[in-house]
């Protein structure tokens, strides 16, 4: 046993070295950065060690705004995208004709460039003097007043943001869920039908438990992905997210490092660690809940 041990370590070495350089060292470094007070890029020195950076970040209105935006996006898009994907997947697996064609159509957004989709959304939803987007044209045609979803009130921007996020994350979920649904042995459905179960009961008592591990996987990765949202916001509202009031935590971290107000690695590190703590906690809760509800079959 012992002889084999060093061999195992040897095989693991490349991966460990890689992880150490690009994951573990930066992680430690981030922790160190976040504790160094008044660190200056120019001198490379700090005045002391403490929690001042966290205090600063938490009292920064831009961070609070980013935190609020991120939470809203997470709370709205994860359930909506998972639920709608489930419905679409159920639809896709129950049709017989043109199933492949529809699957391809629903998968297209996944292979489309985020920025390109963002541009399309911008054009669709904007309401400028000489460039009224299709959505607003429809609203006006129906007798409403146009709203600029891109550069207008907060709720409108948040709406289009969530709409866009759901749109972007759904293809992957649909893909995974249709294959999970396809892997359920049709005999279970036949058995349930002979046993007189209604289709809703079949869904709730058989389909859902059978694919629960997949749904749960999608919820966890959905949470993590939504917490790390940034590029989607840039695609819709441009790089100055603070001005648009649509910044996210990752956006805030980026701004603190490289943005026009940037140059504060310590604040960035503190914000990143706060995000880490949040994601960690949520994932832990998710796992705990799943242990009681998910069927691994």
């Amino acid at each position: 046993m012992k002889k084999n041990n060093w061999k195992a370590w040897l095989y693991l070495l490349p991966a460990i070295a890689f992880l150490a350089v690009f994951m573990i060292y930066p992680l430690i470094d981030v922790c160190v950065y976040s504790l160094e007070e008044n660190y200056s890029f120019a001198s490379g020195e700090a005045t002391g060690i403490g929690l001042a950076n966290f205090r600063h970040v938490l009292s920064d209105p831009f961070f609070v705004q980013a935190l609020r935006n991120t939470f809203l996006i997470v709370i709205i898009t994860v359930p909506v995208s998972t639920g709608v994907s489930l419905l679409i997947s159920l639809g896709l697996s129950s049709i017989k004709r043109l199933q492949n064609a529809f699957q391809t159509i629903y998968f297209l957004p996944y292979v489309t460039n985020t920025l390109a989709v963002g541009l399309v959304f911008m054009i669709l939803f904007q309401d400028k003097e000489r460039a009224r987007g299709l959505v607003n044209q429809i609203i006006v045609w129906l007798g409403g007043t146009g709203v600029d979803f891109i550069d207008g009130p907060y709720w409108a921007k948040m709406f289009v943001m969530c709409f866009y996020t759901v749109w972007v994350v759904m293809p992957f979920k649909i893909l995974i869920m249709t294959s999970a649904l396809a892997s359920v042995n049709p005999d279970y459905y036949k058995a349930a039908k002979v046993d007189g179960a209604s289709s809703f009961r079949i869904f709730r008592k058989i389909t859902l438990p059978m694919i629960s591990s997949t749904v749960f996987y999608l919820i966890i990765t959905g949470f993590i992905g939504a917490f790390k949202a940034y590029s989607d916001e840039v695609a819709l509202f441009g790089t100055n997210l603070n001005a648009a009031g649509m910044n996210t935590i990752v956006g805030y971290v980026y701004d603190m490092l490289y943005g026009s107000s940037g140059g504060y690695p310590s604040y960035a590190a503190a914000a990143a660690l706060i995000l880490f703590a949040i994601v960690f906690t949520i994932t832990f809760i998710n796992l705990t809940v799943s242990r009681k509800t998910v069927q691994y079959v």
């Binding site: 279970y188 036949k190 058995a191 039908k193 046993d195 008592k205 059978m210 069927q295």
Partner: protein
């Protein structure tokens, strides 16, 4: 409850050729009496499972009608027919316990039939006792052996007291020893409940051993219906004769002429009053009697000892397929070194079939 199939036909669109139909079930017309255990027997792909699906309502027939008793159920969905169905792979819900699996059909009951939780549990326990799995109620299906899983599946199918119990290849997923046991068990459960039971199998031994009635199918057509022994002793055509019995019946080229049945140049049996001409001759392995003056000669290959009996494997020029096999009592005194053996034939073990239609002559 008796089950009547009236001119039942099921066509599927062919996958190979567009616009062409495959007839899985071809004009079935028979009646299964109440309380019988019926074996639906045939080679794979002959439409047995489709027949079962038609009776259960999972498939709708292209033509014809199905009656349970006097009630026409042809257009009824499965849940309204009151059938219990046991799948080949059992299809037990893997995330539910044995008890939850058995209760599942009861929870689907609506309106007046609705039961309280207590009543359901009691009912479940009752059928679980019947199939002897009442000790396993809290287990998940994956913690059970194949035989136990099957019992759970049967319990689930029986819990609503179905009009008809349908089993699709019930024994094929079990190992040989368990298969024998379960076979007896199936017979017992059916006797205890008195539910009309139809099971599908490709194993003729299985069907013969427990059925009250067997239905032999080929290519979507019913060939013969009858009590197992009757079908065995009196097959209507070459297919039925070949399909029933292990070892299989020996089929030889023969000819009827001058009031005798000839195999090669040997007149093996007198056969008066039958149309002359070339025929297929089917001889059951147990239809041979070792007889030094017998009319049927063949070249001996080897002798296989089976204990009480021996199986004499021979070659014969007119034999179709593999070697000819005769089963005779061990004390008949066949010598392994012998080159040539002579037999006389038991007339009731010899069947003559038309060369063209393969129907019994």
């Amino acid at each position: 409850m008796k089950v009547v199939l009236q001119d039942l036909t099921k066509r599927f669109a062919s996958r190979q050729e567009k616009g062409k139909d495959v007839i899985a079930v071809n004009h079935f017309d028979f009646e299964i009496p109440d309380g019988q255990l019926v074996g639906l027997l045939g080679p794979s792909g002959c439409g047995k499972s489709t027949t079962l699906n038609l009776i259960s309502g999972l498939e709708t027939p292209s033509e014809g009608k199905i009656f349970f008793g006097d009630r026409d159920v042809t257009q009824l969905p499965p849940e309204e027919r009151g059938v219990g169905l046991v799948f080949q792979n059992y299809a037990l819900y893997p995330h539910l316990t044995v008890e939850e699996n058995i209760i599942f059909p009861l929870q689907n009951l609506k309106g007046k039939q609705k039961m309280t939780k207590e009543a359901m549990r009691e009912k479940a326990l009752e059928v679980a006792r019947l199939v002897q799995i009442d000790q396993l109620m809290e287990r998940k299906p994956r913690e059970l052996s194949g035989g136990q899983q099957q019992r759970v599946a049967i319990a689930r199918a029986l819990v609503k007291i179905p009009n008809v119990l349908l089993l699709d290849e019930p024994l094929s997923n079990l190992d040989a020893r368990l298969r024998l046991q379960t076979r007896e068990e199936l017979r017992r459960i059916q006797r205890d409940t008195g539910v009309t039971t139809i099971f599908v199998t490709h194993d003729q031994e299985e069907a013969m051993s427990i059925s009250d009635l067997i239905i032999v199918m080929k290519d979507g057509v019913v060939n013969q219906i009858g009590k197992p022994q009757e079908v065995y002793d009196d097959p209507v055509n070459l297919f039925v004769a070949q399909f029933l019995g292990t070892p299989a019946i020996n089929v030889l080229e023969g000819e009827i002429r001058d009031g005798s049945l000839y195999i090669g140049q040997e007149a093996v049996l007198p056969m008066a009053g039958k149309a002359e001409g070339p025929v297929w001759v089917g001889i059951r392995p147990e239809g041979f009697v070792l007889d030094e003056k017998g009319p049927f000669t063949c070249e001996m290959d080897r002798v296989e000892v089976m204990g009480r009996d021996v199986s004499v494997v021979c070659r014969h020029a007119k034999m179709t397929g593999r070697n000819l096999r005769a089963i005779i009592p061990a004390e008949s005194g066949v010598r392994p070194g012998q080159r040539e053996v002579r037999f006389s034939l038991k007339p009731y073990k010899v069947f003559v079939f038309d060369r063209e239609s393969e129907a019994r002559r």
